[in-house]
Symmetry: C5
Subunit: 288 residues, 5 copies
């Protein structure tokens, strides 16, 4: 089924009719910073982190850290648990010139972790400092780190205007039109040696086959890519937001059905499925 | 032996003589909701979850969560342990407009978990909310999550009236005639890239070979399928109920003996074997 | 060396000169039930479990459960530890109309578990009930389950009188003549898809090659087979008793040296090596 | 992209124009020993460990040990935690005639460990003694060892003046010109049997293909190699320091893109990413 | 390099010039039993275990058990910890007619365990009894078993006088001339089905290729072999003692470079590297 979709889409691409942006600014309602407060801070020459910029620029580090609450968390006095969300909010405020912090709720959907942080920074050391301080908060102290993934954003390197004009136009002329995404999916990827040993042309051809079926999903699935080769045991982190998991399931079947999939040493494992909320609300949900 | 069975069945299929429903409404005595109570609730515009519908419709999420009791559970005061079943029953009642909850007993049959929940919901976020609240119950607090699998029901996509008339007729003209199933088996499946890269026709041919030997077991094994590609690290969750484990063993040998089996990256691991009971009875059995 | 042995044995098989029973009644002195007590029970229509029958019949479930004592066991008061063996003996007596229970000592020979139970039952749910109650005993409460394997006995399906007359005669005309076995070895097996996709004839040929070298060991190694496809993540549990581990090592090298071995996805992992004793003595050895 | 870089570099190599030192003395500001104190010690015939020598000589053992703080560390009284850095510094001073100790901070960037030690010694037993005593310090007692890797430095054995003159010249005529590295990356490697079964000539050819793209990174990535075959379950530990992780990511993509990569049974897993500091500062950061 | 060494050695073997003993009596100073005390015991018909015999005879069981100290060990009162070494020494004395016990220190060199026991016995059940009692000592109670490997010694079966005269002569005419070994390395091995399915002649040829490069290391590496097929999940335990780890690293590279290495399903994992001492000193080092 995915294969049929591909063929149809390739036709429309040749015709230049598909238009969409694949890598888009992710601005879930949940994580919008109050613009006013943001304007006041950067007094002493500090560069304010702007959500809309840091989420679209290349050269930005992303640190994904999955946490599991220890059973002891249930035994922490209610008052301290209730203060957990405010403490985290305050910490995020303290570091807002250094990092952008998103927190997602996975409890109930994943076995190995209950929530995860996605931290963006221009300087990785600053993300590390934030993460270290997070682990000294009440909830951080009562959580085990189950998984950490580190990646780096880069400019598109396959489906560019020069190399693949039709698909590139497709990527830039459609955009997400669904309701505010409630779900997040994060999928780490490792390619095999045969993949990396291909010529650039061979890989481009496979990436074109990969990209074609994804265009139809630009309207209901947002996507972002991080590069990790050498700085982590994976090559990529692919990050998705959607409100339509059935569509997302079909998108992923499409991606399973192309030749590139034969070069995945790891695709997921873990696939992380969670729900999107403000950091405050996510921590509150875990502190009840 | 399985192979001989296949050949015979394929003949009768051609003759159109086999008739059975493979994917059927699962209504274990253990989990029937009182129809009257169900009728009274949906006052304020709420849609009541109807067992017979949600278990047969496409577009329904299924969350399977396997739990292991911590040793501390034995040290919880008897009174609190004794109240565990009632607390869970009450929580299920509270969420009955959002989720359908089944609980199965695996203690004694599996090493990594003692019981598991199968939660159905039209909205995955509601299943997550239920699961989060379950983990705040007395038994939930004393359990570790060993495994979570998330899937989605869909309409049949291979053995349809159009694509495979004979087998489709076979699937819809026989039904379960055994005693009320006492056993549940859940088997997660991940297919390889070669499988997904086949043409739709090639996969249909393999699914026909797969389906033929299963027809003979429609009378003593019930089956249900969930799709998970991209929303979990598996492609499918196959769920079975039976009272005849020897027949089930033969069914699974038949499925091991077809070419599709060469495309399983994961088939089980874990295979979950448990017994069926009401949520109340399962929790009671764990609270003695 | 194993290969030479095979060739020689195949010759004698053709001549019909080899005679032995491979699957035999296992009656270690350690586990004999007092016949008198057994005669008195089945008053109210209950079927007494007879060791000699249940260990040789098809259609019997076998549950193997490996346990590891938690460090806390050392801190349990001596008096309670000393009562552990009597408590287990009493529980076995309570369930004697439902299950046959053997317990083996692995502490000192295996890293992941200290002892294991082999429970036989005509009805799997009854084995589960026993296992659940065992886990509420003093020693059960202080043990973690490291591994559970479930299987089912069946009639011989390859080396039958019809299909393989010479080898079948070999299997039935020799028997164990060594001293009472002191050692138990249990080996779970999973075959690959290529194995199950072979024709019955191809598999028979490989099973004949497999069986031939085992005949020489009928005199010093006892063996029993359980089928697990679909009810567990393995296809078979092979169970051995011997007093001669050097002979057993040679037997297993013979089995490694035949083509069937190329179809093992799993052969052991874990191989369980333990010593045989009465349940009482095994529990006592762990309670000192 | 990496492939294009390779081709260009190979050309310049043939022309003999590339000049750089690949294996260089690593002297992060963080770890420099006061030269004066070093001069005073070797009174009683003891050989002082000189950082600049031990980091460049062959025949030196390197022990990498990754530690994870236990949750209990948070409950250790503040006073004791505050003394941890001084205690470690004192221990390093005590052993300074036997071992060279570096400590790196991974907390916030890795899930399985919070910091790691790299200990160099001419005599492995002395590194072991230091490590044993470290584990009796306050922080050592509250840490679990997550990973240990042992290796040995050797003279270059592929890209030597004799075997590969052009590349050897390239390696020795460029040097690190970036800012003091803030990041450390450690990558264990295991090669497959096919690699070791190649002729020396075949491996040399592949190592030349491997080395060529690395020359361009001599200016911003430092590198050191340890050999581990037989003394650990890996063949090599590759150790890197850099201040430019984007460049490092490109270097590693280049290395993924050569044929040698087809012979990696293990490349990373774990890849360790951390930040460089003095032992005192790293321990302090973990003791706040 | 290893390959060149192999060729040279094969030449000298043909010439019959190489002479050495590969499997030799291991008598580290650390583990010698006082001969006098040994003479006094065997009064009541008991057979005294003689180190020099039991380490060279076939038909002897070897049990390797790796232990990790639990964090609680640090909290055991100093007096009890100080008594640990004497308690173990006394236990060894008690069992000296049944088992030979060596203890090695791995703390600081391995992550998963701190020390390991190698126990030899003619009767495996006696080794089990010793191990069980060891686990009731103060240090045993505070240790977790991380790994157990069981093997059996046998006469040489490939490089015999009959089958491979030149190499056999090589093995028996050189001997260890280095300083008393300070290091121990233990490497479990599992061969693949293709290996066991070879003819005896094919395996002999590969074992000759394997043996040739090892002859040069008879002077600085001692070796001992245990067979484990069927009694454990490995086929062999190879045990080495050396004082020259650089030579050992070269030996292992030689063994990686022969065709036999293509048949290793497992070679190490874990490779255990430790230091040699008397049981008393090893336990003391862990009790400080």
């Amino acid at each position: 089924m995915g294969r049929f979709a591909i063929r149809k889409l390739q036709v429309s691409l040749v015709a230049g009719a598909v238009a969409a942006v694949l890598v888009m600014q992710t601005t879930p309602a949940a994580a919008q910073q109050p613009a006013a407060g943001a304007m006041m801070k950067p007094a002493a020459g500090m560069m304010m982190i702007e959500r809309s910029k840091i989420l679209t620029q290349p050269g930005v580090f992303g640190v994904f850290t999955m946490f599991k609450l220890r059973p002891d968390w249930d035994k922490v006095p209610v008052a301290m648990r209730k203060g957990a969300a405010a403490e985290v909010t305050k910490l995020i405020e303290k570091h807002k010139n250094n990092v952008l912090v998103d927190i997602y709720l996975t409890r109930g959907l994943k076995s190995q972790y209950d929530y995860f942080l996605r931290v963006h920074a221009y300087d990785l050391a600053k993300a590390q400092t934030f993460m270290r301080e997070f682990r000294s908060t009440a909830i951080g102290k009562n959580s085990d780190v189950a998984e950490t993934q580190v990646g780096l954003t880069k400019a598109l390197n396959y489906i560019t205007k020069d190399k693949s004009q039709g698909l590139n136009a497709g990527l830039s002329s459609a955009s997400y039109t669904g309701p505010a995404p409630r779900y997040v999916v994060s999928v780490p990827i490792k390619k095999d040696a045969a993949w990396w040993n291909m010529s650039a042309e061979e890989r481009l051809a496979l990436m074109e086959e990969h990209t074609a079926p994804t265009l139809a999903y630009l309207v209901n699935v947002k996507r972002k890519l991080y590069h990790s080769t050498g700085i982590d045991d994976i090559d990529f982190i692919t990050y998705f937001e959607t409100d339509d998991l059935a569509a997302f399931n079909n998108l992923m079947i499409s991606l399973a059905s192309v030749k590139e999939n034969k070069h995945h040493l790891r695709w997921g494992s873990p696939t992380t499925l969670g729900t999107i909320g403000t950091p405050e609300n996510v921590i509150k949900a875990l502190s009840e």
